[in-house]
Symmetry: C2
């Protein structure tokens, strides 16, 4: 019996559209074959979400072929056949002897494939920034005279503008984020362990919302008193107390896509300085969304936020957001002053207004939005409250 | 108010012992300063488990100083002060302008620190294999004539032999893995969605066992009929059916440490060929544990497994395990024929006997064990059953 195809999150035409955009960029860069190694970019171009990226793997996009070819560890071949939109003949498993082998690894299998299949191989595109130094060296030395072209972020920039189909999936992820936050407001109580509250919230993120389960877990942070100035702690063994503040950041996931969300909760009445900060941040959030119109820049959005927050007597040191989609952050546009990326319809951003001001002051709020002609349209349906639980 | 120290998983003396071992290796390699960038190695040498490794960070171990210095994004400084055993003066936050900046990044802050603080700087050790090519280049060009020495896996090899304190923590993680597997046997039922069962299992992994919560989530795989030949799929939206087979792989986490566990479950009577494979694998597992004695080699353990499995008419293509500890796999010793790593007491391995034979045949069983003079001592207390649920 052979592995059946999984039900696909997107139709074949959607993947071919994405590949056409990639091939167009390849042509501009005079690249004949592009080796895509970033897991999020592989997901984008094929539908593959299996977690095999801890060993070498590559999706090889050839300017001459409609479908890409995936070269992966042999044991991961069946998952690729199952999940990817491509024909099973385009999934090639490399042998186990290339695992934990100091002399040859999966990248050698990718190079072998290119040497065997690409007669011209004038130049090979690589996402060099995300590859180990020795791997880039290996491509240079083994590629038979082909020029190695840095194609870091070529696919990531294409991912930046979502199709309506992708937006629909991100809305599903957002509904899961919302359900998780409502669960948090329900379970964060004095006397409850941070871990037990986290268990309930995370289970909600897996069960999903509106009949659609989460398809994965993304990062999850719960930073509570006395740790509200930290931003990347999972949770601890401590117990919430009356007066505890809880900063939350997490996301539902659908088919790899995330819609991150942050909210701050207070057990009982929040501290006055946190309430004032909240008011400034919400005003800033609304100003930023109003500025996030087609044709404006990332810098405009950040300036709108920063100016408004300053009027409230606060400032935020870190950027106020970044492009978001598959596997959370896209390594491209930042919502910060000076980033002149022009906003296009259906670009999606995590407007991330976490503000860790001092060693005992931190506050978070965020929304994931898409760019429209009328401004940023957030995916969350939650109120912009400082939750008092 | 300043950030308090979190309760520490290990005493200061334990970290100083680990650092002494690292400094001894540095001396052998004539390295004056080692820049540790791998998150698991940073956890090992400091107790830090906050998830800031998606931007540059480095723990700088100097041969001249007792405590290392951690250079991290400023917003992550408070978490480092909170979690690390080191003095707060040894935590240095680099400014936000180094984030999403094409010209300078956090590695420049690390290089600046070394140039400012290390007068001799004859040579700098780097974990080059896990760094992007451009970062290694930057160290070479900016390090003022210092020699760059590849120290990939220097710390990872030291991590290989655990202290009794670490073994105790891994046993706590194993108890959580066991609780998760028992929960799986309880919730995997016909008509239940894979996602809903996963939600219950994952919540158990967070709540923990014996009053000790999980402190993080590690990888989680649930590969059920018709996907039992895949190994790295989270779960799907499908519903279990009578006759479904479910292959599970996950781990509890305590203070970064994992104790992975795999078991196969069958809703109703398992297929005959799966039962035969199970018998061979369990016999192989027992043979491998018997061979995992102090002084033997990784190769001996793999040979014991492979020989026994062959007697039962099966074979397994992939290695039968790997060194395990913080953040799951250690990139060092492999349980495979030809790996001549000599077993020492308290080395820990994931004896990973997942066997994906054909596109419709896959079976998993595994145990995490420590090496003793009498053989491998598994941490799990679960029976080696093909679970019929």
């Amino acid at each position: 019996m052979t592995m059946p195809k999984a039900s696909q999150a997107f139709p074949r035409a959607e993947y071919l559209r994405r590949l056409a955009a990639v091939k167009s960029e390849m042509q501009k860069r005079e690249v004949d074959v592009l080796v895509v190694t970033t897991p999020a970019n592989i997901t984008y171009l094929s539908g593959y979400t299996s977690k095999s990226g801890y060993v070498p793997q590559g999706l090889v996009v050839s300017s001459k072929e409609e479908e890409p070819t995936f070269i992966t560890r042999r044991m991961d071949g069946p998952a690729a056949i199952h999940q990817m939109f491509i024909d099973r003949d385009h999934v090639i498993g490399y042998p186990e002897e290339l695992i934990a082998n100091p002399d040859r690894d999966g990248y050698d299998a990718i190079i072998d494939f290119i040497l065997d299949h690409e007669s011209s191989r004038g130049s090979i595109g690589l996402e060099t920034k995300f590859l180990p130094a020795l791997t880039v060296e290996k491509f240079k030395s083994r590629a038979g005279g082909a020029k190695i072209v840095d194609c870091t972020n070529v696919v990531s920039w294409i991912r930046g503008v979502k199709s309506d189909l992708e937006i629909a999936i991100m809305r599903e992820a957002a509904a899961i984020s919302d359900a998780g936050m409502l669960k948090a407001a329900e379970v964060i109580r004095p006397g409850t362990r941070e871990a037990d509250a986290s268990a309930e919230i995370i289970a909600t993120l897996v069960r999903g919302a509106d009949g659609r389960p989460g398809t994965d877990l993304a990062s999850f942070f719960l930073c509570a008193t006395p740790r509200t100035s930290t931003c990347h702690i999972r949770w601890t063994e401590d117990t919430f107390k009356q007066g505890s503040q809880v900063n939350l950041e997490f996301s539902g996931v659908r088919h790899g896509y995330t819609s991150p969300l942050m909210r701050t909760m207070s057990i009982g009445k929040p501290a006055d300085h946190i309430r004032r900060l909240h008011e400034g941040e919400v005003a800033g959030l609304e100003a930023a969304l109003a500025a996030a119109k087609t044709g404006r820049t990332c810098s405009d959005v950040a300036a709108a936020f920063n100016t408004t927050l300053k009027k409230h007597g606060f400032s935020k040191e870190s950027r106020c957001g970044y492009a978001v989609g598959i596997d959370w952050t896209e390594p491209t546009a930042s919502l910060k002053e000076g980033d002149m990326t022009i906003l296009r319809p259906n670009m999606t951003f995590h407007l991330m207004l976490g503000n860790w001001i001092d060693e005992d002051v931190g506050y978070v709020i965020s929304e994931t939005f898409r760019v429209t002609d009328a401004g940023g349209e957030p995916f969350t349906k939650l109120p912009r409250d400082l939750f008092e639980v």
